[in-house]
């Protein structure tokens, strides 16, 4: 994973910081260069951070339930910014309430995310998938 760069942040008006801290630690320990823009991150912040650092991944967290509203249009903005092909994952408690994960995943993949993760996903799964997508 040497010199691979990930932009990590919690989108929207969301302040859940614990998972963000754990993911940062897990990926750093695994050798990734983690650009952690933290909580309350706007779509613009994700994109500019990715451009500035030539990032390979954008990892979006949304825990508080507004993920659907906050994530819409992110892929388009990436295209406009010229990084339309960047790999994007999203995870957390993406929607309001306990909903069927199949539907939720579909919603977010259609939004342009390459992978979406249900509540309580452990870091090792993320690391696996990062490795898998890199070896493509």
């Amino acid at each position: 994973m040497k010199n691979k760069t990930v932009v990590l942040g919690v989108i929207g008006a969301d302040v859940h910081a614990v998972g963000n801290r754990v993911l940062d630690y897990a990926m750093s320990t695994a050798g990734f260069k983690v650009i952690n823009i933290g909580v309350l991150a706007s779509q613009e912040e994700f994109i500019s951070a990715a451009i500035e650092t030539g990032a390979d991944f954008i990892l979006v967290s949304s825990l508080y339930g507004h993920g659907e509203i906050d994530c819409r249009g992110l892929r388009d903005k990436c295209r406009e910014a010229g990084i339309g092909e960047i790999t994007m994952y999203v995870g957390g408690n993406l929607v309001v309430g306990k909903q069927d994960w199949g539907k939720v995943e579909k919603t977010f993949l259609e939004m342009g995310f390459d992978r979406a993760y249900p509540p309580g996903t452990m870091p090792d799964i993320l690391l696996e998938h990062l490795a898998a997508d890199l070896s493509k």
Partner: protein
Amino acid sequence: MNLQNKRIDQDKFQAERQEVLKQWPTGGEVNFEEAISYHKAMPKHKIFAEKLAQAKAEGTTLAQPRAGVALLNEHIELLRYLQDEGGADLLPSTIDSYTRQNRYHEAEKGIEESRIAGRSMLNGFPAVNHGVAACRKVVESVNSPCQLRHGTPDARLLSEIALAGGYSDNEGGGISYNIPYAKSVSLEQTIKDWQYVDRLVGMYEEHGVRINREPFGPLTGTLVPPCVSHSVAIVEALLAAEQGVRSITLGYGQCGNLIQDVAALQTLTELGAEYLERFGYKDVMLTSVFHQWMGGFPQDESQAFGVISWGAATAALAKATKVIVKTPHEAVGIPTKEANAAGIKATKQVLNMLRDQSLPETAELLLEKEMIKAETRAIIDKMLELGDGDIAVGTVRGFQAGVIDVPFAPSRHNAGKILPARDTKGAVRFLDHGNLPFNKEILEFHNQKIGERGLEEGRVPSFQMVIDDIYAIGKGMLVGRPKK
């Protein structure tokens, strides 16, 4: 800094007030005098401070859920259900996250989207957008006191509207609703904004209407050592009292070790009274709130019931005035009204079975209490010292110096140097105390406890141990033991 712990003078307050009420159209609905008479007409059993005082006198523990949805009628239906089916003793209106960040336009969008989607797209009740009349509709639709619960750094307009709307309790504070809930808002700013809210409550008090205030105890909800949350809660109590608040509920979030949790809840009000006394704030009514585990929950609903019930048992044995209830959906999403009521019913069954029982005083309990008191006094007194006797100034400088420090907090203005971890019995101790102003005795106590844990698990205490503890309850344990 032009900040001090001093009652805001009337003219300055009124001037600021004109601005605040202009921040969103619904601010125009606020009429203080009319609001006073509205509150005075309310029956006792719907006034928060009254019901808390009664519970305190009887030594019983009241149950309160969290709940809030985007649309007014759905919100009312939800609260009614929690009251009738769940048997909630106290009711909330949990505010959505856009409103918490004063993003009223996005809240408006959320309301529309919710109308279209036919389900709440917001994680709470956008009280500002709904306005004073709507708030009163809520309050009038239920038979129990209603409290505003949020997480709002600048809650001036929200509080104006909710209090005028008949809510008789308001959660939050300049520290507890900044450090865990914001990234870059300065403490000067949020303390000032909450001095405004407290002053507003003080004015109600002076006009014969008692509004209860509740500093948000659990902070980040994740392995927060009692002395840290106690220090914040007590400082906010002092700031509130200075502005004329006379009814305060001090809060604490369950850590999971029975002895430590009971010690924490008992010392919370004891220390609170001690400091209010010390600064000459007379006749402030202090009550306590115990939050069922505020960190990561198990996804399995039966396991969640176990966590909820253990929280209820601890609250009852500690004789908290009220307990904030979690739900079997906690790990996954905002609960349905059924799941929310289920949490309350499990909680009340345990509260009722334990209402006549309490934890006898023991050497272990006394030791925990002594440690928590020594640690908390060390922190608060250091803040006072840094503030040259002014606790508002001392708070800002204290956070800068890291002598008060909240684990896992998102705020830039928090040092973030301390690392908490559980000891062999699950009590939360300091693996790294950062810059907290502790004496040798206190440090040795924590080093010893964490050392024992390391020995027992045959590993050097590190951030990995902290992570294991963060996940532990979600995985069905209390102490995050390494996989064998």
